[in-house]
């Protein structure tokens, strides 16, 4: 039977060689000519600026008229400068004269005005909520006419949905078929939903980036991303889960860049609800939350326990003097007892035969949300509040807001999508409520403070108005702050110069350099 064994051994050898051959490819020594490999959680399912969620501005393919630096201070983007008329109703944005699209055509005022008009027509974008009258081209400038003064207009024109794409980006029915922008990188290959290859744009007016080729790969599972970072398969990895970060920090082989974001995790309460409408009940819920333990155990970052809605990374809005939100179960019990809630036979609070049971909706796209929801559920149970946690699709929150069925919702909110938080706040805390803000709650003092800020009159009182907003939100708790956010990226040792943008607008790849 010797022949047979040889034959079989031969077959095994072939199989092994095949495996080894496949494996060998991954073992190449890193050469500087290789592209920079970026891994993140964001998939892109559409190229349209209104729906691509800032993907192509992060990769610096497309530009907006106005840019912002890491402090959130507005900077020139495609527009060199801008100015408003004395009555605040007419704005002029003068374009950078040498700007070119990646297809070689010039960025003209006509093209920019057309792109902005398209953006304005998309529902759900910040530009659609601005009191706009007309957008037109005037020489080398874009002119925006308003129906009423709106001071944060330049900040809105920094929002990623207002990016300016070349006419060749659009297909016959005005759908975006490819992304031809004007940034330092151009798309060389695109494979929706998970992969993009970029190359430096030769005619970029600024300094030539040190890294000339970039690949971006979207990977959905946080564990898989962490493994890619650890195995050296990624140079820059975004969206790390707390535990993996801890491990990478301990191993000490990779760098970690971190920045606190102007983003908060919050618990939205339906203030029109028969139970949650009582501000004392909302205060009791807030007192029941052990934010520090949650931040320590679940976010692995005790400093991220929220003491007020706005994190310190929003310096204009964060009030160092505000009385911090605390954990005090005894006080919470007392508030609930005062409001008429008494434990029933099963330990659940009752009032007039109505049990204190509420539903909390959240979603798994940010992995920490379901875990935090579970922790909140356990803490509220200690007080005798039965919370049913529903982990579903994020859209159930605005849908529940619309039909009034929402009770509690846990989500995270970025207050600097538009670099001026005012725009988001005006939307979230409008008198009629906002999808990701208050519900069934309004406060005339807050509304007028926000209105004063938006109209831009009396700039001297702006700080005072902002303080008032923070104080009212802290006292009334239409949304209950839970935690703040720190964004981390794991960086391989061959890359230098990673700075994270707290506004999450750009990954600043053009500032990176290969380590010499």
């Amino acid at each position: 039977m010797g022949w047979q064994k040889m034959r079989v051994a031969g077959a095994s050898a072939v199989a092994l060689l095949m495996i080894a051959g496949c494996a060998a490819g991954g073992n190449d020594a890193p050469a500087v000519t290789q592209p920079l490999r970026v891994v993140g959680q964001f998939e892109f399912h559409s190229l349209d600026p209104s729906t691509a969620g800032g993907f192509f501005t992060r990769l610096q393919v497309a530009e907006t008229l106005v840019d912002a630096d890491v402090q959130g201070v507005l900077q020139p983007g495609l527009a060199e400068s801008w100015s408003a008329s004395a009555d605040g109703l007419s704005w002029t944005f003068a374009l950078r004269p040498d700007a070119l699209f990646h297809d070689g055509t010039a960025v003209t005022a006509e093209v920019a005005a057309a792109a902005l008009t398209t953006a304005q027509g998309k529902a759900g974008t910040p530009l659609a909520t601005v009191p706009l009258k007309a957008i037109s081209a005037e020489g080398n400038a874009v002119r925006v006419e308003l129906a009423e003064p709106f001071a944060p207009l330049p900040a809105v024109l920094a929002h990623t949905s207002t990016q300016i794409l070349a006419p060749s980006s659009y297909g016959p029915d005005q759908a975006v078929t490819k992304v031809v922008g004007s940034g330092p990188y151009q798309v060389s290959h695109i494979e929706p939903p998970a992969k993009v290859e970029l190359a430096a744009f030769e005619q970029w007016h600024g300094e030539k980036p040190d890294i000339s080729e970039v690949t971006y790969q979207a990977v959905g599972r946080a564990e898989s991303r962490a493994l890619m970072a650890e195995s050296g398969q990624a140079d820059v990895t975004f969206g790390m889960d707390p535990s993996s970060l801890q491990k990478i920090r301990q191993a000490g082989k990779l760098d970690i860049a971190a920045v606190t974001l102007p983003r908060s995790i919050l618990l939205k309460a339906n203030s029109g609800h028969e139970i949650l409408g009582d501000v004392q009940v909302r205060r009791a819920l807030s007192l029941a939350l052990d934010r520090e333990s949650m931040a320590t155990a679940l976010l692995r970052d005790p400093e991220m326990a929220a003491t007020q809605l706005f994190p310190p990374s929003l310096p204009d809005w964060h009030q160092a003097s505000a009385k911090p939100l605390e954990h005090d179960p005894a006080a919470a019990r007392k508030l609930l007892a005062d409001a008429g809630w008494a434990p029933g036979s099963d330990g659940i609070l009752e009032r007039d035969g109505r049990k204190f049971t509420v539903t909390l909706r959240t979603f798994p796209d940010r992995p920490e949300l379901p875990i935090l929801a579970t922790a909140i559920q356990a803490k509220l149970k200690e007080l005798g509040i039965a919370v049913d946690v529903k982990v579903g699709n994020s859209s159930e929150i605005p849908a529940g807001h619309k039909d009034g069925s929402l009770e509690l919702a846990l989500y995270s909110r970025n207050y600097a999508l538009v670099p001026d938080a005012l725009v988001t706040l005006t939307d979230d805390f409008a008198p009629e409520g906002g999808d990701y803000g208050s519900m069934g709650w309004n406060d005339p003092a807050l509304t007028s403070a926000l209105h004063d800020l938006a109209s831009g009159n009396d700039a001297g009182k702006a700080a005072e108005s902002r303080g008032k907003v923070t104080d009212i939100l802290q006292a009334q708790l239409p949304v209950i702050p839970v935690a703040w956010y720190r964004q981390s990226a794991v960086v391989s040792p061959r890359v230098d110069g990673v700075t994270l943008d707290p506004l999450e607008r750009s990954w600043r790849l053009s500032d990176l350099a290969w380590k010499k």
């Binding site: 535990s243 491990k247 333990s293 320590t296 679940l298 798994p364 356990a378 803490k379 946690v389």
Partner: protein, 285 residues
């Protein structure tokens, strides 16, 4: 996920030897060990939830605590007792699997006998339906059905049963067809012994060994399917303890708290190995 694996292992049980107690007789060593393992797990699934009644009790200050005398499997990322969650998860998995298999078995067998007995359009319709179902990957059926209710237990169960009934149906239909056409049943028919007699005396004894083998594997694949759904994120809802979900939750902490990940993995593999071993035949050609 499918019982198809079981098909080539279907064969009559080995002959019984005379001088041993009935339940040991004819069982191989592997089968006895497997039965013992499964019995131990069943005891854990029944007694565990009684011993550790609250699986949702958190103590955030003690997250990822290492195993100790009081907490033999330590605590998880929310400071919950891992052994309590494991006991509840084992119970859930076993109960759900048995329910799914019973539903599939009952429906599949009844439909199979009906198709073989009545023939005609009943047979055509049921057979056509089974042809379609056999072409559907079971996971697809479960995925789509379980999406209806965001992880409600009964929809998961329904999905799994829908994915499995076809195998019982096809087997029962084929076997019953042969038996019903055989001389024994013909004689019984001539004697006017009635359908109940035929079922009890002719069909059931022939079908039972095969059905019990298929059901054993069915339980295994149901447990596996449940945990897979938990892993993909469309199974039961947190904080319900479920083996697949526990493994997924524990994975990010595998380097910090290996006990947390290993415990559910161990239980899952023990169940599956036990079920496999129960049906294994040690001496083969």
């Amino acid at each position: 996920m499918t019982n198809a694996v079981a098909m080539h292992e279907l064969s009559p049980a080995p002959a019984q030897s005379a001088n041993r107690p009935h339940w040991v007789a004819g069982r191989t060593k592997t089968q006895l060990i497997s039965a013992a393992l499964l019995a131990a797990l069943a005891v854990f699934a029944i007694a565990g939830p009684l011993a550790w009644p609250d699986h949702a009790l958190q103590d955030l200050s003690r997250f990822l605590e290492a195993p100790s005398a009081a907490e033999p499997l330590g605590r998880d990322h929310l400071g919950r007792s891992v052994i309590a969650r494991l006991a509840h998860a084992t119970q859930l998995s076993l109960v759900m699997a048995v329910l799914c298999v019973s539903a599939a078995l009952l429906f599949g067998t009844l439909a199979g006998i009906a198709a073989a007995w009545r023939g005609g359009w009943v047979d055509s319709v049921l057979h056509g339906l089974s042809e379609v179902f056999i072409a559907l990957p079971a996971l697809l059926v479960v995925l789509v059905v379980s999406a209806i209710a965001n992880g409600d237990l009964w929809t998961l169960c329904l999905g799994l049963a829908l994915a499995q009934w076809v195998e019982y149906f096809r087997m029962v239909r084929a076997r019953s067809g042969l038996l019903l056409a055989g001389p024994a049943v013909e004689a019984a028919g001539l004697l006017r012994l009635g359908p109940a007699h035929i079922m009890r005396r002719h069909l059931f004894p022939e079908l039972r060994p095969l059905l019990s083998t298929m059901a054993t594997f069915g339980v295994g694949s149901s447990i596996l399917a449940l945990s897979t759904l938990g892993f993909v994120g469309i199974g039961v809802r947190p904080p319900t303890p479920e083996l697949g979900l526990m493994i997924t939750e524990a994975f990010p902490y595998y380097h910090e708290a290996p006990w947390m990940a290993l415990a559910p993995v161990l239980v899952l593999t023990t169940i599956l190995i036990g079920l496999l071993g129960l049906r294994s035949k040690e001496s083969r050609a």
